[in-house]
Symmetry: C2
Subunit: 209 residues, 2 copies
């Protein structure tokens, strides 16, 4: 689960303190809330966690990796209860995303690490595996359910199905993130309902109501 610095992990010797790991990640989230990404320093995080700065550097290569792991933990709670129909499931996904994005440590951290990942492929993979893929699973799950219910057509061409799933994911995640972080408006029940209607019925069919 923890995708920290590649663990050489020879046999004997003193084991790494799991307590320290948790303390560091918690301290990182607290620092994100108070200071934001740019003013967050690793020395400060170490002090908050009650840990020596060198200990922190032994486990994480830098600020980017540390924050990714700290933020990724927020996505552990993601799951999608079956609400009986496609529209309700979509609203469920959106509200799940929104609940996480509403937390200040997610706001401060997520965009920053994604920005950094543009010039760092390793970081991008790390984000993908520990955050993005977990979100995408919810979309795939909801889609599979809808197909079982007959609300969406079955996939005949698996490759085209994958492209469609990617498209839907980008639309949902992108819209929620843009609403929450760029427009800085709340992703509440009203907005979620309007968005779901738009996603399911399309622009032409959905009235301005």
């Amino acid at each position: 689960m923890q995708s920290r610095t590649s663990a050489p992990r020879a046999t004997g010797g003193r084991p790494r303190s799991a307590t320290a790991d948790a303390a560091i990640l918690a301290a990182t989230r607290a620092a994100l809330v108070e200071l934001g990404w740019s003013k967050l320093t690793l020395g400060d995080v170490a002090t908050r966690a009650g840990v020596a700065k060198t200990t922190l550097y032994r486990r994480w290569a830098g600020k980017n990796e540390l924050v990714v792991d700290a933020v990724a933990a927020l996505f552990d709670e993601l799951e999608l209860p079956d609400r009986g129909n496609l529209a309700a499931d979509v609203e469920g996904v959106v509200l799940q995303f929104a609940a996480i994005l509403a937390r200040p440590e997610a706001k401060s951290g997520l965009m920053s690490v994604v920005a950094e990942s543009i010039r760092d492929d390793a970081l991008r993979d790390r984000i993908r595996s520990s955050i993005v893929e977990r979100q995408k699973l919810l979309v795939l799950e909801g889609r599979a359910r809808a197909q079982q219910r007959g609300e969406l057509p079955e996939d005949n061409d698996p490759e085209a199905a994958a492209r469609t799933a990617d498209l839907i994911f980008d639309v949902i995640a992108g819209a929620v993130v843009h609403r929450a972080l760029v427009s800085a408006e709340p992703v509440d029940a009203d907005w979620t309902r309007s968005f779901t209607r738009l996603l399911l019925n399309g622009l032409t069919a959905s009235a301005t109501t």
Copy 2:
């Protein structure tokens, strides 16, 4: 146009060099391409621009403001030719966004300043007025055209219309940004066509084809 540091601008005296302004912004974009946001330093930008570091600080308060202005200039070229119908206009908007986001200086800069804006309201307003509102105008323009053509219903309730416009904007901009910067996949003609069909017809109506 230039939303630089609030200009005291008394009467006489040596005027600020407009050449220096352009050189600094160009140098900032070049540094963004080469170094990315986190490794970009103001001292380096000043050197590239052939300008003293103090000159740079006299005009911009810091890294954030400078990069916003440097990136905002990329959005000057935004405009939306009338392509005759709603679907074609939507594709036009998407491809306009995509063309800008494909440039490395936009990739590196945009996400970073948005991330910083989460903890800086003044920066958020600056981004809104110099970047986001310009994008939104395209959406509003396309929407008005579609209503004139009869492709979309007229607005009866202006407040609801504004909410709908915001929703559409978040969906379009969010999806394109997410595709380009998070999924890191190209926003090409194929994807644009699929996205447009989804946006106009909805999930239920659009086949996986």
